[in-house]
Amino acid sequence: MVNTSVKIGKLTLRNPVMTGSGTFGFGSEMSEALDLSALGACVVKSTSREPRLGNPTPRIIETSSGILNAIGLQNGGIDNFIEEKLPFLRQYDVPIIVNLVGYEVADYVYLAERLTEAGGVHALEINISCPNVKHGCDFAVDPKLTFELITALRKATDLTLITKLSPNVTDVVSVGRAAADAGSDALSLINTLLGTAIDIRKRKFRLANVTGGLSGPAIKPIALRMVWQVHQALPNIPLVGMGGIVTANDAIEFLLAGATAVAVGTATFINPTAAIDVANGIEKFLAEQGIDDVNELIGAVTR
């Protein structure tokens, strides 16, 4: 038997494949399309203190091998999440990771406390890197602010903390190190790359929000490079790699680069069962290659 389970902080995942926040709704939407319990973990859409209506439409447009999104973090707010979404998810035997977003440290701390208290949440992913809201990037581009935020969160909760890094920086390692130093149990990377597109006849931006975040296969080489860089610099902190993963082969590249787990984001839009297909594909690859533990792959790339 092949072992596919990995550990992220205190959390043991049955396989290394999670969903990408914002690409899998709150889980319930997909509960008939696939078996949620077959996921390594279910990461839900960013949740904020108050409900948010998000940006005007168009919110997503297509680019070559990718999409630009500027959803603007539409969500029902923390009360709605705890009352309406969490009870449904608790039915499933799957780790639930809630992605948090806020304007300031106090927002994040409040959310972390509420979710710790609510019970049934296994880890928090800290979105310090959403490029689509005012001040959304403040934390992610600044190691010092990141350190402060994660320090405060570390005091507020015992839940596994995963800090989600932005790729829109010169030095992703320094931000990752700040989060690790402040007590983050793991890092996830990458969030989307800031981009835009223009309708040449209308002479207008194709997204109502002007810019959006680029995701999908187009960004995979960049994401993989960043995962590798961070793993080289910080080999002891588990990484959740993401950015353009569509197939098991893509995911295995991330594992070899140093990710302990991966997330499947945009790919779910074109293949509803992408996350589970990737998990199954990894298992098949291990069997094929005669590898009995997925952990052997982690960081195993050589020059």
Partner: protein
């Protein structure tokens, strides 16, 4: 509402041009055929690579549950529809579906008249709806209005005739049927039907649906509109397809719709 979004790689049965740049592609997809109801759509991908990356939604046009076949009527506008146009019998096509949360709800009142108003590739789901109504009740009262700019762009007249439905055609240039817009014909129909229970079902270009919606509100006729917006996922998870409702909610077109009532949507 969760969708039973399943992916199917299925063989194409036929792919025929019906009018210029419009084709009907039929494929063998028994699981989809079994579940499909009028207003449902499927998300189609034609390529092997990741460019274009997203699937594109197409309404289900005909369903043959016995043979396990469904068809889509599409107009060739971009990469996916160009790729669909190239498919030949025996080729594979990649579908996710059936998708759609709130679809057409047939008016079940005794003696109700069903008024279909369609334009462009909004006509096919209404043909599907009409056939389903006639299957359930061969005596169902159906009024069907199809609009186009020019007679060469009118769709499905023959198919409806075959099903026993005589459609009223309107063309903006008067080249076939009544000169004018679908709303001109709709006003006549609704006046004819005044006093009877009636429901309008509408699918077509947004300006047309907006006008139909306004007219139905004016005349007090219940109206179901299948709203079209870009749908990156079609499964309720991306939050890109949102529409603003009169009650202040911002909901997903794909799973909270795509069918909404007149007066429900802010245009």
């Amino acid at each position: 509402m969760p969708v039973s979004a399943q992916r199917y790689l299925v063989p194409v049965i036929s792919n025929d041009e019906i009018i210029a740049d419009h084709r009907v592609l039929t494929c063998h997809a028994p699981e989809v055929a079994a579940l499909a109801r009028p207003g449902h759509f499927v998300n189609v991908s034609v390529g092997d690579g990741y460019d274009p990356f997203l699937r594109k939604p197409f309404s289900i046009y005909t369903v043959d549950r016995e043979r396990g076949e469904i068809s889509m009527l599409f107009s060739i506008v971009g990469a996916t529809t160009r790729g669909m146009a190239k498919k030949r019998a025996g080729d594979e096509i990649d579908l996710v579906g059936p998708l759609g949360g709130k679809i057409f709800q047939p008016d079940s009142r005794e003696g109700a008249t069903h008024v279909m108003v369609g334009g462009g590739y909004g006509v096919p789901p209404l043909v599907f709806l009409s056939k389903e109504l006639l299957t359930a009740d061969p005596g169902a009262n159906i009024e069907f209005i199809i609009g186009a700019r020019h007679k060469d762009l009118l769709l499905c007249e023959a198919e409806l005739a075959e099903a026993g439905v005589t459609a009223r055609m309107t063309t903006e240039d008067g080249s076939h049927g009544m000169r004018g817009r679908v709303t001109d014909a709709l006003r006549l129909v609704l006046e004819e039907q005044s006093g009877n229970p009636v429901t309008v079902y509408c699918c077509g270009p947004t300006p047309m649906m907006h006008a139909v919606s306004d007219l139905c509100l004016e005349l007090g006729a219940p109206c179901q509109l299948s709203v079209e917006v870009g749908m990156p996922c079609g499964m309720g998870v991306c939050m890109a397809c949102v529409v603003d409702l009169a009650d202040g909610r911002r909901v997903r077109c794909c799973t909270d719709g795509p069918v909404f009532g007149a007066g429900e949507v802010i245009w």
